[in-house]
Symmetry: D2
Subunit: 452 residues, 4 copies
């Protein structure tokens, strides 16, 4: 890889001399100069000139003041779309005589010029890295500028192709992994923060801990997504027991369950290019091959919006009272109060996870949506499972286990995508039914609001 | 890589059970069963089911009787094109209101379904390998079925993306290379056949011989294209001197020239996805970095169609006589005859290489076209340079040197693509002028036929 | 490794300049110059000078006319032994006051100077390689010059330390192995010659064939010893069935036995530094871990001196007649004759293998000695098992299976080294008894001659 | 490597069953049991039994109470020395007839049995690691039990052979190095402590910092010794400028000097098996090849015992006064006092480094001894070069530069070992002369005391 990068660099260097970048008007603004370079790249025909121009564009984009990003994005949208006149012509011709040849022409002519631009930029030494960060800038702008969506479609189209699953490489991360990668793991962990190198070591070095990541051949030091796994004697019911520095360490032979307790995406510029579903299944397959005595594959997952949703139901009498109790400082350390709250709290969580839906009919909870769509079963609702401040605030300390049962994954998945109710264990179903009864004290309107 | 392949295999295996391939009608023909599976793959939503179906399709395609290929290709064209009704609708909408959003929709709707089909097939463990061979079958059929061209456009579109230069890896092949790769080098050498392992060793093991190949991360044991290089004291003027088993071996420090004497494409299914131009330049850059005292980078190239072309000019009196002499058995070993033929033969070769063009105005000789377009200069015409039977038959023993002058490559390339005459040395220019005079004995019609 | 070698080379190069080799008298013979350099190496104190001198000695030794080897060996014996005066002194001192300190001094003073010489030579870049070949020359000379034995003791002492089992690396050799190693496998195979690369491929590429070799970190491309293994459905009883190019290939899952059909030492200069016993056991352990369903580990071994021994018994009436029949051309293709010979032939072989001993009481057959000492059991005697000319001439086509039963290896080994009879199967024991009866027709003297 | 370790483990495991360790009397003390196992190991003949016994001994030694180490060492000395009776006999025989054969026998018989014991222990999976730690225990005991020295001679003899320079592998340590190794670098740095991972990163990641270590193939994750290098514009004169987190970082092209500012041995059990001299030269050779524009190779070294020596000279009037001033808190931040002290302080340091010798005539300063013997030249004496508390206490803040001039290393080395005065620059020579004058104020006896 590094050899290739050197070569690309050397060739680009030579091309840079030839490309004669001085002909770009120095009077123009940095943004206009970049746009002029992009035009030149699309019309250039020489190998080296092309590489040099691509490298120059990426360098300059990186140095561009963020305030100019909007201008660049607008240019991508308007100047580097398809040739409208040719497209109008091709549409007419196709309508005159519909057929494969005309359709093909239409497809070719309708391809925005920025797709080719992105392809050419990708040939530069660190092109892929820079394009990911260019898309990251775009994603940040999109909420306020939805008209830029077509640019993102092109990014997605190309990234889906380049990050085709066949290119991804699963690697185990452990204490023998280069520091340059470990440092990024520390930085990217998004669910249960890694405090320092000692904390990291506790998660990757003991025989009962694993961490797996996907890599891409052109980004050899950049993890794309990773999952942390605890090998345990039984399904874990709290994150404290997993992260406790003084916990008992067991051998991998003594384990019978693999608990996926954290999944983190690493590249914001790859949002929506999904690897997560595949990562879990591949790690399951890997553990299954290496440690055949481990028969239980289960997550320990957060319930991110549960507290917010519960507050939104506060007008329902029972729920309001429950909410008030949960607001009390450290209620969960008061054993008596806790015992009283256990049943209503977990019932509401079970109902929320399996019945609360948004206006498009999708499950409200994003983590539930991910795992249930992915073929898992909601197995257990655990309380006092994440007693950190963040855990209490977002979900009153609730965490849940999703079970990946090898022989049911596909069936569950097919059922879920065809609109049937999600797969849940008997215990969770009973909890959710209890939740249903609690909510039914509400007026019909409230129930509709809560349930939809 | 192999781990990934195993995992993909394991997941596909499990999916195979679930995919319930038995629901495919066994009464249908093998071809119809494959088509049904393709439809199912496009509609399937499960990871494992998808992988299993993809693997099944590829397996079955491989076992398909070649007589059924035409049927499969027709299905790709007709059943897996875009949705014509939606496309008509989108065209009308766009013409009503032309704009980025409409253009984007048009682009999306006009994408043939087979593109997605190919992408899904590529996710199977050896998917890329199988798709290359599927295209190879298509290329064999195209001459007699030009209407299949749209399928090839889709292959090219995807392959260009997957084989983007940034993914290619340059590796030196030597006597430490795994046998599985060396064996393929022996098999794929297309210019100067490699007789056996001893012959191969003579080309990769001595300090004055190099072989470089491009690889792709998903085809780790499959060279895509390779070039053979001889490090020499001076520009080589015959292939015999390079391949002679008894030649003097020199150290790489003693060399001052690098002679590229053979370039072979390895994958017929990747025809047109050009790597060759880039390979030469990258090897030049690599040698330049490793052996800075080597200052001359030059090919020793065949002139494949020269003899055929010369025959086509036989009605010109001088040429006809020349041709008759060249038909004599082993004329080149008769020193007297050879001396007489030297001048007219090389003059005609120089003229042919730089002036003979086809009906579209392209240079007739494909090798000349490749190197001159690539930025090289036609430096020298060598006679008695390939005295093998094949060399004599195709080009009366002529071989030529194309010179890659680092500082001129880009300029030559830009000039060539803008339609100017190719770059040639002074000596070759003089030869070509002499050839011009020889040909001008011809009638105007003949001259036009031969020269233009 | 190669980096280190380059560095050692660079340092030696610089040292060479300083070492001022010109002070070595050019008038002296090449041999005397080498000896002078050895003296200088032992007295030199500089790093670079030392490396340069060592490299110079090894270069010159390699170019030395073989007729001078004897002179060099004599110098090693006489000039580079211990300091005799100091040794006499130390011996007296020790006898005056025997104790650990005196013993230690004695040990130090009695070390021949050539040990240190060899250690210093070993520091040169390819030192180990050259020392192995230096010992190879010595071994060739030893039979005619037994007084050189002390030199060989020093070689053995150092080689045992450097090739300590902990340094050896087991590698599987297959079709992905670099050609430079495969070529040596072809060259070194000593039992069943490898005809060419196709023959080699048949032995390493199919799923039911394995080849394992030991390597040493300082000789990364040089196999030390290797073993070829066939995975089969049942214990193989002939070499033809294993080497047949048209044999049925099975998957490794279908196999239940691993047949070790060839073991070859690669380095004549390492004779007596035994790896073979450990190699077999390590391969057994490796196969056992990878393919737990393979439960039978067995050799298919030659009986190298059987025919010679049988001839030596020709004066015994029955044996003489048997020998005469076996002299007939292609007797083994005459089914009737063969059927008649089967019983006496295999009986004699069984007796020979288990009872025929040399004057020191060791089993006559070296292969039997190796495997039986190593803990294997003589399991089966196969006839018509090697019908090549060589096989017929050396052992009348007999080959045998030694069985490595994991749970008995150690016990068998301990019994063998304590002088008990070798482990044999019931069938072989019965054969040997039959052989005993045949031989007992002999006169007492003859019997003694045959059996001892 | 790890495969081998697994295999050794598997074989040992099986041997453990057979070795029947239960026959070792459980009534005996742990120490006596280990000794009994050692006797058994020396007499055992089976592969697996041997490995099992070796592993058992090493396990038990590790668990042995440190108070029993002395007993074990005594047993090594007395029970596992040579066979005294045979040695007496061999000495007599040799004195009767002195000659190569007798000398060889004497050498063999005088070898202590513990050498073979150590060789057998080394065959266990982690044998080398354990033996190093066993010697470490011995070295700790030696000062109080000098009679154990013969054991250490045997360790040294074997370690010199196993750690022969030809086996050592130089690796660059950077931010891509596995964490397991980096963690050890942090732990082993003995000269300028590494505070944490950030501090480490500052020493290995920037383009102007390097760290190189020697490794041995059997200890792949254990650095043996390492050196830290700063690439700088000029010879560095203080450690602060090198370790400053806010220093300016330069490219390696901008550097013209390589400053070796820290060398640390990692394995206390390998003391005296010198790698340091060779490490520096190899790194010089490596940097020379990679960065030919770097022409100055220089250390920045401590002067560990200078302050102690200066105190020992306090009775000399001038020195006593100087010492008193240097005792003042933070004198070096008082510019006026500092200016006054500069000259006498550096003069005394220069004299100390080049003239102060111990009772055996060796230079007093161990670091000076190491580098000057190694061929370097004492180039410069820097004051206020290490203003840490430790630096002030041990050497009044003095550090020095030793220069490795490629073309003088060997000459300097040869001169040094032949007893000539060490190589010093003109400036240092002048300083030392000034020091001489200062000291000559002393009475003759004092001068003799100081200079010896």
């Amino acid at each position: 890889m590094s050899l290739l990068r050197d070569m690309l660099g050397a060739i680009a260097e030579r091309g840079r001399a030839i490309a004669d970048l001085s002909t770009i008007s120095q009077a123009a603004s940095p943004l206009d100069q970049i746009i002029a370079l992009c035009e030149r790249l699309l019309s250039s025909r020489g190998e080296a000139t092309g590489l040099a121009t691509a490298a120059e564009i990426l360098d300059r984009y990186q140095e561009l003041d963020p305030s100019s990003h909007a201008g660049f994005q607008r240019a991508l949208l308007e100047r580097f779309g398809p040739d409208m006149n040719r497209l109008i012509e091709a549409s007419r011709a196709f309508l005159d005589e519909p057929g494969p040849a005309g359709a093909e022409l239409l497809h070719r002519v309708s391809e925005p010029r920025r797709q080719q631009l992105f392809r050419l930029l990708n040939q530069a030494a660190d092109g892929m890295h820079h394009l990911i960060s260019m898309r990251s800038d775009l994603l940040a702008a999109l909420p306020d500028a939805p008209e830029l969506a077509p640019i993102d479609h092109d990014f997605q189209h190309l990234f889906r192709s380049w990050f085709n699953r066949g290119f991804l490489e699963l690697r185990r991360i452990d204490w023998s992994t280069p520091a340059v990668i470990l440092e990024r793991i520390i930085r990217y962990e998004a669910v249960h923060e890694i405090a320092d190198w000692d904390d990291l070591r506790r998660r990757i070095d003991p025989p009962d801990r694993r961490l797996y990541a996907f890599f891409h051949p052109r980004l050899p030091d950049e993890p794309l997504i990773f999952v942390e796994v605890a090998l345990t004697r039984a399904t874990a019911s709290s994150i404290q027991s997993i992260l406790d520095p003084d916990r008992e360490i067991i051998t991998d032979e003594a384990a019978s369950a693999a608990v996926f307790y954290s999944i983190s995406d690493c590249q914001s510029g790859l949002r929506g290019i999904s690897f997560g579903n595949f990562l879990i299944k591949q790690v399951v397959a890997e553990l299954n091959a290496e440690l055949p005595h481990i028969t239980r594959f289960v997550t320990l997952s957060p319930v991110p919006h549960f507290a917010r949703w519960l507050r939104s139901q506060a007008s329902i009498p029972g729920i309001g009272a429950l909410g008030a109790e949960l607001e009390r400082e450290e209620w969960w350390q008061d054993e008596e109060a806790a015992a009283r709250l256990l049943q209503p709290l977990t019932s509401m969580a079970a109902w929320y996870l399996t019945h609360a839906r948004d206006s498009q009919g999708r499950l409200l909870d994003p983590v539930a949506r991910f795992h249930l769509r992915n073929g898992a079963r909601l197995e257990r609702v655990n309380w006092r499972a994440n007693c950190s401040r963040a855990g209490m605030e977002s979900s009153h300390g609730i965490m849940v286990n999703y079970l990946y049962e090898l022989d049911e994954i596909e069936r569950n998945h097919e059922r879920f995508v065809s609109g049937q109710p999600p797969a849940v264990s008997g215990a969770v179903k009973r909890m959710a039914n209890a939740g249903e009864r609690l909510l039914s004290a509400a007026s019909p309107e409230q129930a509709a609001q809560g349930g939809r």
